[in-house]
Symmetry: C2
Subunit: 142 residues, 2 copies
């Protein structure tokens, strides 16, 4: 099949396929017209790449999987190098999720503190003889 059909079957674009080829990830044979020619194995490799990219893998990280498939193995993750990428990615994900959770808690704490400060100001404003309201930015009811 040619590049347009492969792109359509993998739900991606011809530009993407040319890019992968330029990275040496998905080389293509050529037909007599100079057009790229692909087969089912290429579709398989491409689907592997796309799946991993959907998981957030960088393009380079998909290379061991593609090479594993090209070596004739039944799955892209049938080779130890692919498993190593899985494990590294798991560690990265755990670290990232931990950091994001910490940031989340900090932001939540900041929000709580800021809301409390706002409410205290509003309460003071209700005291007879209390200070004048000072906020001119965007209203106070958000």
């Amino acid at each position: 099949m040619r590049i347009g059909e492969l792109a359509a079957r993998a739900d991606t674009t011809t530009r993407t396929l040319r890019y992968y080829e330029s990275r040496g990830l998905l080389p293509a044979r050529r037909d007599e017209l100079g057009h790229r020619a692909y087969d089912e194995h290429d579709l398989r490799a491409l689907q592997q790449i796309r799946t991993l990219r959907d998981f957030g893998f960088e393009l380079e990280e998909t290379r061991p999987f593609v090479e594993c498939l090209r070596a004739g193995h039944p799955e892209g993750d049938s080779c130890p190098a692919s498993l190593a990428v899985y494990r590294r990615k798991l560690d990265e994900l755990d670290a990232l999720i931990g950091e994001l959770a910490a940031v989340r808690d900090k932001v939540a704490g900041q929000l709580t503190r800021a809301e409390r400060a706002r409410d205290e100001l509003a309460a003071e404003a209700l005291v007879p003889g209390g200070p004048e309201p000072v906020c001119e930015l965007g209203g106070r009811d958000l």
Copy 2:
């Protein structure tokens, strides 16, 4: 104070300050030599920006906080627009953490499945008269 001192006190670079100015986030007065002149309020705003950036906020998302400070409020998050950014960021973080956790689980599942497949192949290889080993990529002991 001048740009070098401000950058040092906020543990950043002069390039960063000029960039913030170009974005309209941290405008600077000029002294008689044309050099940027900053005061303690600018340092305060800059620290606010840097703190939020450390939390993963985009530069544009820090703008309400800086404007709040410039309006004379005690904290960058004393204004409703800043609280709105906090809330939006919390939602984004929750969504992102959820997605990452889902991906993590999928990757973990893939790893488990691939390891099991590998072990089953290894077990078959031990059966007398079983198939020959086939993996040529990177050794089998990882």
